[in-house]
């Protein structure tokens, strides 16, 4: 199978769906002229010059207009440039976009995709490094997608563009250049289905995005010491695949949740809570969460490394849980 980058796979997904659905159009900051901050839109402009355009720095307007367009039957794709900037337009998303379907008794379908980069990258400092997916998992009404591979981003974005509900997709900055096999034929990945990236017997590690790769690296190291970790990539946080996680915990009796977002009240807390509610009798040790330290991201590279969770933290957690 051919191998393309995560950014290329994402561009392909949008292109293919735009070809199918004339209601799709996309806009945001620096996506048309620049092709997106990580180049995902480079292939689009020539094809659909009138369905892709740049906006001024005006988040509240961007999200508000997307809400309006979706309400009249369009399917806007909005790039949020950096996930951190969602905070500047959060009113439209959490007060309006997420609630329309409910407030209209299901009549007001809001077909809208919010997508863009998140995650810690090289000294991008506090306002360009946040993983805020938990906030959108917390507020009901929007589906949350976080792909970890080129294959997944294409399948999940295509599926998101066929949904009747608003979807938000976070793509880790460090993954855009990652290459991986992506089929040329049309495919989608259903939302809410996790992927067991690696089977194991001793401990379940539930993770997403960049931390999937860190966890796989950790599992490889742990294997040398005779510990067998099962790595589950949730792929979507709303809905999330309880069945796969709980079945795995019932098998391994140990759970670790590994995410890049802050440990305190991160989405891992939700997973651990549900697992203890539904599989308490299968736990042989307290669940451990791996996450970033509870501080804004430092600019200094050494401090960024100190705050960012990585495969070593996963190894430490596994050793602690298995002793």
């Amino acid at each position: 199978m051919r191998e393309i980058t995560f950014a290329e796979a994402l561009g392909e997904a949008i292109l293919e769906e735009m070809e199918k659905d004339p209601a799709i159009f996309t806009y945001g900051e620096d996506i048309a002229r620049q092709g997106g901050i990580f180049g995902a839109y480079k292939s689009l402009l020539g094809k659909f010059p009138d369905r892709i355009f740049d906006t001024p720095i005006s988040e509240e307007v961007i999200y508000g207009s997307a809400l309006g367009a979706a309400l009249v039957g369009m399917r806007p794709i909005v790039e949020f440039h950096f996930a951190d900037f969602l905070f500047t337009g959060i009113q439209s998303i959490t007060l309006q976009i997420e609630k329309i379907r409910y407030m209209t008794g299901g009549q007001g379908k809001l077909r809208l995709l919010l997508r863009g980069p998140d995650g810690i990258s090289n000294s991008a400092a506090a306002q360009h490094s946040e993983c805020i997916e938990t906030i959108f998992m917390h507020v009901p009404g929007i589906k949350v997608v976080i792909p970890s591979t080129p294959y997944d981003v294409k399948g999940l974005i295509k599926k998101a563009l066929q949904e009747d509900d608003p979807v938000i997709c976070f793509e880790h900055k460090m993954l855009y250049r990652m290459r991986g096999p992506v089929p040329e034929e049309d495919y989608t990945i259903p939302l809410g289905i996790a992927e067991v990236k690696r089977e194991g017997n001793d401990v379940t590690v539930v993770t997403i995005s960049r931390m999937v790769h860190e966890s796989l690296k950790a599992a490889e190291e742990l294997k040398k010491e005779g510990m067998s970790a099962e790595i589950i990539d949730l792929r979507t946080l709303v809905p999330w695949d309880r069945k796969t996680v709980i079945e795995s915990v019932k098998k391994t009796n140990h759970l670790i949740v590994a995410h890049e977002t802050w440990k305190r009240a991160g989405w891992g807390a939700e997973i651990t809570s549900v697992v203890q509610e539904e599989a308490f009798d299968y736990l042989d040790a307290p669940i451990i969460r791996v996450g970033a330290k509870n501080v804004p991201m430092p600019f200094a590279a050494n401090l960024q490394d100190f705050v960012t969770p990585n495969y070593k933290d996963v190894i430490t957690a596994v050793k602690q849980i298995l002793r």
């Binding site: 009796n253 308490f280 009798d281 299968y282 736990l283 042989d284 040790a285 002793r323």
Partner: protein, 384 residues
């Protein structure tokens, strides 16, 4: 109040193993009535109560090995108050303070250190324990701060299932002595065995006429051979490298009892008549099997004979009874066709004799000569 102490059966006895208590706390005992059974490294004996009264307290339980002279139980009069008592060997089982009401109702509370304290266990461990109907207080947790985890339960279960399948018994004092002596014999001595087939027809005929056992006849012959070949009637001290040759010929006879092998001794067998040997042998075997054997009956043997013929064993390689230097094994006497000196075939009563010897002090040729001599005496016996 009377203190029952661990008795000393023989000079060498240092500790005794409590095999069985015949009475329980609170029971009446009469003077002379069996109180408990104790085994030493050599013998097992019943211990009779020296006084009449009530068994107030058993200080050491069955299957415990206790030094000679240690107080193991207390006997008192009915209603007598048990004062503070300090056991001398194991202080942890020491203080017993009982009021007389408590003695009659046997309300002796054991300290339950876990009572009122919740056992730490993982949810999974609790679930498995509940399914298997296990008491968590019986299980030791190896998790952080002693938390019981799945592996602890599984370990316990695998051990417990073994416990159910097997009947685990501690070795009794006698069995332990056998074990220790045989290990020592096996590891210290260099044991070889010579075997020869011997015609027992004549010896059997004579023993039948004289109404004695074939074994008695064999002991009679053996005693004479040992007198002639004195180097077999000896002990070898490995540590001191001393080879001790005895004038007295004391033949030990291995006797199979339900408590294990015992080796009572026929003393100065070379001076005894066949009838006397037969009588003594019968008496010693009876005493061994009934448990009435005394310390004196089983000591000072200089050579041992062991007979497995009655149990269909044809020949075997006996192991030395240390510090003796040789042992004679007797196999089954069986009718066989034999070629006689005149080349005619006859039916004869044949058996194998196996002579095991410590090759460090006895050469193979010596052993061959010994067996040859025995064969001559057995085949043409003179038991006068």
């Amino acid at each position: 109040m009377y203190e029952i102490k661990m008795p000393k059966f023989g000079l060498t006895m240092e500790s005794g193993f409590i095999e069985k208590w015949f009475k329980k706390e609170g029971d009446m005992v009469k003077e002379g009535e069996p109180l408990l059974e104790v085994s030493s490294e050599k013998i097992t004996n019943e211990v009779a109560s020296p006084v009449s009264g009530i068994l107030l307290k058993i200080i050491f339980q069955e299957q415990e090995e206790i030094k000679v002279g240690t107080v193991i139980a207390l006997i008192g009069e009915e209603g007598e108050k048990l004062k503070e008592y300090q056991a001398k060997e194991e202080p942890k089982k020491s203080v017993v303070e009982l009021e007389k009401e408590e003695i009659s109702s046997t309300k002796i509370a054991s300290p339950d250190t876990d009572r009122g304290r919740r056992r730490k266990a993982s949810p999974l461990a609790r679930k498995i324990a509940q399914e298997k109907n296990l008491d968590l207080s019986r299980i030791k947790g190896t998790g952080p701060d002693g938390r019981i985890e799945k592996c602890d339960i599984l370990n316990f279960l695998s051990f417990a299932s073994k416990e159910e399948e097997l009947n685990i018994e501690k070795l009794s004092g006698l069995r332990r002595t056998i074990m220790e002596r045989l290990s020592k014999s096996f590891h210290d001595a260099i044991t070889l065995t010579n075997v020869t087939e011997i015609d027992f027809t004549e010896l059997k005929k004579i023993s039948k006429e004289q109404k004695v056992s074939v074994t008695s006849g064999l002991i009679f012959i053996l005693a004479r051979v040992l007198k002639e070949l004195n180097k077999f009637n000896a002990h070898f001290n490995t540590e001191k490298k001393e080879y001790i040759l005895f004038k007295n010929i004391n033949i030990g006879i291995a006797v199979d009892t339900d408590k294990g092998l015992m080796v009572p001794v026929i003393r100065e067998a070379d001076k005894l008549k066949l009838k006397t040997i037969n009588e003594q042998l019968k008496e010693l075997v009876d005493k061994s099997r009934s448990g009435a054997i005394s310390e004196r009956d089983i000591k000072d043997s200089t050579f041992t004979i062991t007979n497995l013929g009655m149990m269909r064993t044809d020949f075997f390689t006996p192991i030395l009874n240390p510090p003796e230097v040789a042992i004679l094994g007797v196999g089954r006497i069986l009718k066989k066709p034999c070629i006689m000196e005149d080349d005619k075939i006859a039916i004869r009563e044949m058996a194998y004799l196996s002579l095991s010897y410590d090759h460090r002090v006895i050469d193979g040729a010596d052993a061959a000569r010994f067996l040859d001599k025995i064969a001559q005496y057995i085949e043409i016996p003179n038991l006068e």
